[in-house]
Amino acid sequence: MSTPTTTETAVRAAGIWKVFNQGLTNEVTALQDIDLTVGQGEFVSLIGPSGCGKSTLLRVIADLTDATRGEMEVAGMSAAKAREEQRYGIAFQSAALFDWRTVRRNVELPLELQGWDRAKRHERAMELLEMVQLADFADHRPWELSGGMQQRVAIARSLAVDPPLLLMDEPFGALDEMTRERMQNELLRIREETGKSIIFVTHSIPEAVYLSDRVVVMSPRPGRITDIVDVDLGVRNEDTREAEVFFEGVTAVREALRGRGGGTLRARVGEV
């Protein structure tokens, strides 16, 4: 069940606009008329140069900021309701761990806010730390961990309440290349185990291709979707990174980013 293809949708964006400083001289259209549907269990990457609105789009999905116009549906409800009901977990480029909490208590945080009792949240946190292979570090402090380990704690935390959707904003952006590739494999394994839908913001083309079922290509001023590239690499492993089909995917996304569209892989131009 590497790529479950159900008709259920995890996220549905219809005509989303986001305009900053509306009516002022420094008005910026961060998002222009975004239509995007992400299926249940699908892995979708948002890629584009800085200023293309990929992070803004993720924040609108997460209801961390409002859309100026348009309709955002997450897990079959409004984005605001989905946030209130904890229907997504989120991980940022910075692990955003609390220094005063141990690793385990950082993972417990979302459960604590939901009022889980101590024993149950302890058990759940250990389960998640087991999954990200950090059970031995449960009682360590965040600063005692490497950047990659901190990010794994952040991912464990984002999965704490078992939300169906995982939002990730350049989570591996600050890691070195080796760690980064290991984290990518880790993430694919976690996805395999949990069946989560994942929306993943990145500015790395190989990363987007390696991880995703679909790569959403965006361009700036105004931020909009210019292309969506389908990727089908089958089961990923270390050989995949050197496979022909992987490089074809990379080329397709690169050309889409340059605005040529219609790559060699199964790239579909325009809206889906």
Binding site: E85, R141, W143, A174
Partner: protein, 256 residues
Amino acid sequence: MGGRLRAVWPPVLIAIVFLAAWQILVVVQDIQPYLLPSPTLIATNFFRDLGLMWGATSYTGLTALLGLLFGTMLAIVAALLAQRFIVVNNLVTPLAAGLAAVPIIALTPLLNNMFNITSRTPRVLVTVIIVFFPMFVNVTRGLVQVQPVQLELMRSMNANPRTVLRVLRVPNAIPFFFTGLKIAAPLAVIAALVAEYFGGPQEGLGSRITSAAANTAYGRAWAYVAASIILGLLFYLTVLALEKWTTPWAGHRARP
């Protein structure tokens, strides 16, 4: 352990060299005690009048401690209000800065008149005012300066402002609280001591230094000064120990 020892002995050595040089200077140059008494004379006075030293130090120490406690409590309440209500912040911050600019010397005789000069109250009040500013500024900074990404995380978990305060802002402010306290604690001792220069009960270190100097008992005056230094250090070191004990994460920051 060896590392800690290596950190301790250079300042100790410097202190010994300094005291020895002082002693030699006084003896060789035959400097009179009213100008500068020798370390041995001060030490002799100190240990001979140990009971007096303790009495004066505990009196001033209690004034400083009360001022530190009330000033800190007041600052925490003000900081909590300031982070919650931007209006309060705009009102209190200039007020606190104004208080910091008030020269304690100008204020003390007036407070002595306003409150009972024979009591400890005006001195504690002076200390409260001195303590308030560094505590308020630092605690407010700690409550307000949280990482934006941590605020977004709290919002994604649907946390209300009270939860954000409890789970994020207050723990975030604790290292800032200690930064303030490390400034405020020695200041409290200075304030409590200087406040005694303007009349009132004569038990404290400030009063004793003045009267000993007036009676040409220079060795004793300097012995009280030494006791004042010890009191200030005691306050500072207590704060350091408290900080180490309660915030093992201070000085550490998880890399982004």
